[in-house]
Assembly symmetry: C2
Homo-oligomer: 246 residues x 2
DNA sequence: CAGGCACGTTGCATGTTACGCACTTTGAGC
DNA sequence: GCTCAAAGTGCGTAACATGCAACGTGCCTG
């Protein structure tokens, strides 16, 4: 392991939260300010950070580019897109694709609803494992050992009045999801937004992603949302088969 | 400057192109494989890379998250969104927002057309300075010195039969854009796709971004596209005024 | 306007740690 | 089972990352 690199990566994460001054970074790393400066200068040379007029630093163009390249490297996106578009046409609602990426679930693709009120783009964002549709649609279908490892030390944080924060209740919810073949986010992550989601499997039979159909409760009641389940499950199966699943 | 960090950042860029093996990375950096291994292990510990089953490495969840955070840190996106949506309603076509980020122009927001044939998502991507609407809409309105610096050593690469690759002709095109108040990408970046774009100015009178209206030539002819210019210019002015421009 | 202060920047000496080497382990293919 | 390529480990040393001291810059206040 490399101590210097360890420190530099901490700088990137710290600067990613909001713009930071050299002194803030030196304090955070517990190093001399000239050391912090050298990190920032090297990071800036490669475009990982950029300096603002007030001498604070925020993430720079290389971070954008690599974030984009990271997404472009996910083949599941292009494989899934046709089925996602068909699902959007059938439901009229926004369809998200979540992908399991080394211990995180990420939103990696979105096909938007044709309605004036749309979902804010969140491609690239991490999905909370316990209260978002796509994450539950993946976690529920992982092998027990993988699920235990993923949830080890994971804290179930209350996001709304409906969030499931009890570990036992959460495990029961996941078991129910497996029985049904799809998962439900019943306003657990965001008030007024609910969704259902189903897993996508690879040729080796491992869950690698999930589709969700997301809508505001003001427009789509729960019964209608649940009525989308057969189309959702069919779309994910189509995609799974394209990945070699059977 | 830090040599260790310099090398590690080269690893991230190299791995961002496509998955890489330890030996490939060692060769690329001209270091011993055990050195490359140590870099990868430190990067993996922080989630900047992830290891695939075949022992190659690609970018990991932290890169996604930081890419997302980088985008979320751009305030222009939220300021611009209402005007972009109005412009989309007026034109019926996809509206992109480009932002000038430390020597690069990036696509940072998109409001999609209501048509079955849509543009593939490219938020986070770098826009080519010489042949994309949003980039031309920014470059044309930079002060001369800034423009010269941005274009210093920049190579005008032919993307289509229409791409302007002659520096003198390109400068004339930019001058024409300034006269008109908007720029045009006439199938210069991608065959069958054209767009117009106009700049957004900050309170200090500096160009900080641009809106573009993008459409396939099969659906929107050039005359119709140019007919969108007044609405486009009005939308960018609205946004500029919100940023304090006058 | 001048002085003080906070912060950014530069150059140097040193000791910490990054590095290459030699060796071992692992996994895939035959 | 054997072979080979690649990943992984531990060690000694010198290269380079680090903190320090000093300097430069810009802003604020009296």
């Amino acid at each position: 392991m490399s101590q210097t690199l360890d420190r530099a990566l901490q700088v990137l994460e710290f600067v990613g939260e909001r713009p930071r001054r050299i002194g803030d970074i030196a304090t955070r790393l517990d190093v001399h300010h000239s050391t912090a400066l050298r990190f920032l200068h090297t990071l800036r040379k490669h475009g990982f950070v950029q300096e603002l007029p007030d001498h604070s630093y925020r993430l720079g163009p290389t971070m954008f580019r690599l974030g984009y390249q990271a997404l472009e490297g996910i083949e599941l996106r292009s494989v899934a897109r046709p089925a996602m578009e068909r699902l959007r046409e059938l439901t009229g609602e926004t369809v998200h694709l979540g992908s399991l990426e080394d211990g995180s679930v990420l939103y990696v693709e979105k096909v938007e609803a044709n309605h004036p009120v749309r979902m804010h783009s969140r491609i690239g964002a991490v999905a909370r494992l316990h209260c978002t549709g796509v994450a539950k649609g993946i976690v529920a279908f992982l092998p027990q050992a993988d699920r235990d490892e993923l949830l080890d030390g994971y804290e179930l944080v209350r996001m709304t009045d409906h969030t499931i924060v009890d570990r036992v209740a959460f495990e029961e919810e996941l078991a129910l999801s497996r029985e049904r073949g799809y998962a439900l986010d019943a306003e657990e992550n965001e008030p007024g937004i609910h969704c259902i989601s189903a897993p996508v499997f690879s040729g080796e039979g491992r869950v690698v992603g999930a589709f969700s159909v997301t809508a505001p409760t003001s427009r789509v009641d729960r019964q209608t949302l649940l009525g989308f389940a057969p189309a959702l499950v069919e779309a994910t199966r189509d995609t799974s088969r394209q990945l070699g699943w059977q």
